[in-house]
Symmetry: C2
Subunit: 277 residues, 2 copies
């Protein structure tokens, strides 16, 4: 397979938007980005991020918050975008993803509030004290070829190149590690380079930390906020997700995304509903 490029890749073709009217884009959500019939939240975040990037005067998502209102199904959808404020360095916008039922009734799936800027205009000043996650090199992590039949791969898995840190992959062989951690290398299967939109996909692409806590159920996201801090350097990124507060039937998932030059390119946190078992 030839190396895909930004603009000519599966991800770009499958998240292409068609402008219907000012502030309204149509999109067809393919089956390929779903898990058990529900379209993946990270892919949808990237899709809404693309819609806002087309609407606002600044190109890059700096901070994006999505509230997941109802389950999105493959098929036609519309994205509505609205400018909240435009400024010199930053602009703020709002977006909705809606789907229309056979009877013509419309249901909102996701509401987004986001502030955009220009990552290319930022200073090179870095005083970051965070350290990249300790995890084995890409070659020593576990890709799709290690999956056994007890965990059938979701549709989206074919589109991603996720290589789990063996230390957080015990759940896949029936021996969850007991810690609320999930770590992996992440890339796109067709080799498309990562950019800020792909980072929005990345922050919700790993198996939930609850798998490593021995819980097998679905973990619906209530809200996810991602900060994109830097354009990633070439190559796969490392993602480390941590859950420290599982209480009252909810949990947080905190994700850090590190690029090949050891820069912390994205941080995200989501509030999700804990599985019952």
């Amino acid at each position: 397979m030839a190396q895909a490029t930004i603009g000519d890749s599966e991800f770009d073709r499958d998240s292409a938007l068609t402008l219907r009217a000012p502030g309204v884009h149509d999109v067809r959500l393919p089956e390929g980005w779903s898990i058990g019939g529900a379209v993946n939240g990270g892919y949808l975040l990237a899709l809404l991020g693309r819609g806002l990037g087309a609407h606002l005067p600044h190109p890059d998502p700096f901070t994006v918050t999505a509230h997941y209102l109802s389950v999105t199904r493959p098929g036609p959808a519309a994205i509505r975008t609205e400018t909240v404020r435009t400024g010199r360095a930053l602009s703020t916008g709002q977006a909705s993803l809606v789907q229309t039922a056979a009877d013509g009734s419309e249901t909102e799936r996701i509401r987004v509030l986001a502030t955009y800027g220009d990552l290319g205009a930022l200073s090179d000043d870095v005083r970051t004290t965070a350290k990249p996650p300790a995890m084995p090199p890409y070659e020593q992590c576990l890709g799709k070829e290690h999956n056994d039949a007890s965990h059938p791969l979701a549709e989206i898995a074919a589109r991603l190149d996720i290589r789990l840190d063996p230390a957080t992959a015990g759940w896949a062989v029936g021996r969850p590690g007991g810690r609320g951690e999930m770590r992996a290398w992440f890339g796109l299967a067709d080799g498309r380079p990562l950019d800020p939109l792909a980072l929005l996909l990345a922050v919700d692409a790993l198996p939930p930390t609850t798998f490593e806590l021995g819980m097998t159920g679905w973990v619906p996201t209530v809200e996810l906020t991602a900060h994109i801090r830097c354009r990633p350097a070439p190559g796969p990124v490392r993602i480390a997700v941590t859950t420290r507060n599982l209480a009252g039937g909810y949990l947080e998932e905190d994700a850090e995304v590190w690029d090949s030059e050891d820069r912390l390119v994205a941080q995200s946190r989501q509030l999700a509903v804990a599985p019952r078992h």
Copy 2:
């Protein structure tokens, strides 16, 4: 001073809303919750949280995101609230704070997107692995009486009872510790018990971590997201704020709020503009 109560306290009087029309509340923002002429972001978050709580069918903020669009000044303001979705366990709403200039033009100050639920309806199940911050007891932390004249107290300081961990208070005596950390005990000066609205105030009430990094300038918040996970037990809470990623002219501030029963009652993260010096 008699012990204030929820509903009869300075905080409640100063964040009281007057319903003008469905979805529109009027409010007068007092001078007393500002810092250098700008109304404090945490107080405003609580105010918008109160407006959404009055509008939505569920009482408690579970996850609240605010984008700070322009500086809010003391004086009259309006809060507009809108229902995005209502469900059995959760409902989602949106709110705006606007101020009107002398010439009649209206400026939006803050846009909020939030999901509400009922903290009282949550299970008691706790599997939290996070630990409370290591900090000295309340009596050994530094309150207003330790402030020297080189850092005049902001108007809001009289309303809060903030006692800084001496380990993160070096900045106040010209010896910043060099780490992106700020820790304090937090309560309201009139003794009003803390509730979810007061936690929204708490997550943006401490001095910025940049003070301990030796930077003295203003740190405007771009976006702040707070998760309220539990009603706090009586007594002051401990707040620990950490910055790990100061890069490209922006930084994150991550806050944890712990109650007197060692429960992690709130988590927040904000993206802010780094000071130039």
